[in-house]
């Protein structure tokens, strides 16, 4: 039963925009259609995510690109060619990962 709850929570977290239940960090990305992706983040209390590191990695976990959320808690990054993931590196309890398949225009 516990496993089911964990699996359900994981399912929620993989949905987009992703949400860390305990600390309510939120993160989403969109495909700009021009070879770039646009990402934005924040917290459920409205506080800024300025400076949070955003990492683009391939399916094997290799880091392809990194950026930081700006004063408006957003950043534009290059879109990799193959399968990829984008991670909001918010620290323990705040890290959120998006599957590139869910990043659409």
């Amino acid at each position: 039963m516990k496993l089911k709850f964990v699996a359900f929570s994981l399912g929620l977290m993989l949905a987009s925009p992703v949400m860390a239940q305990a600390h309510s960090a939120l993160f989403d990305c969109f495909d700009n259609g021009d070879g770039t992706i646009y990402c934005q983040g924040g917290y459920s209390d409205g506080s800024s995510a300025k400076g949070v590191k955003i990492t683009v990695s391939d399916a094997g976990g290799k880091v392809l690109e990194q950026g930081q959320l700006d004063a408006n808690s957003e950043v534009t990054l290059k879109k990799p060619a193959g399968d990829y993931f984008v991670t909001f590196e918010g620290g323990e309890g705040h890290s959120l990962k998006l599957d590139g398949k869910n990043i659409v225009e």
Partner: protein, 275 residues
Amino acid sequence: MKKLLAASLGLLGLLAAVQPADAHFMVAYNKDTYMEKAKDLDMRMVFTHPSEAGTVMNMGGVKEFYALHQRGDSDVKKIDFLKNVKEITWKNGDSKAPAYEAQIKAKDIRSLGDYVFVFTPGYYHEEEEGVYMQQITKLILNVGGIPGNWNQPAGLPAEIVPMIKPYGLWTGNVFQGQVLSNGKPVANAEVEVEFMSNEMQLDSNTMSSKCEVKYPAPQFVTQTIFTDENGVFTFGIPRAGWWGFAALGVGPDKEYKGKELSQDAVIWVQAVDMK
């Protein structure tokens, strides 16, 4: 003769008194106020009596329709949606009048955060009373759960600023708002409250004829609250669904075309049952 006249007037008064005391409300509606991820919006703006699918009235056109968007403490962006507004005919029972719909694509509201929608209609002429009404209406939607400017004034001549997040209300919460006229709190303002007790049917642009509420008497149809010295009112939400709040005559404009004008501030909120 005088007695007969007095009796007739008295009867008329009595008849008027037992009519449902429902109020004029500019309805600004979208199926949901909260979205996990942006969805296409299918909005309606109708001037009616929402408590009992009452008379639909001609609001006199539309002057403005836009959203103020903010995520967290990022910059506020104004998105003009006037081009999305299309005239329709709304029908409640035998009553029909021009109203508006707005189709907004998900990509236009894909950014996480708040969208404070503002709808400014033209002027409704209440012929019987020889007065005009204009109800400037707000509807606040959120995408993705990051709050923004929901509790910030939109800079309207007349507006209700929520003091509780308006898109995450449980049944049984209170709704608290501050009434502003040109940005200044209005003490002792009369605020009318109505429940949308008949479902909005967007496919046919009508409200369902089925009333979800059994009102025991006309006194229960429109609730009335007066604001305190800071322009603040508080209302306990007894039921899930859509609740409209209208602060009457609080705007700075008092006259239109040489006749009395009631420039009102309206806001709609949605409450959800805790299951």
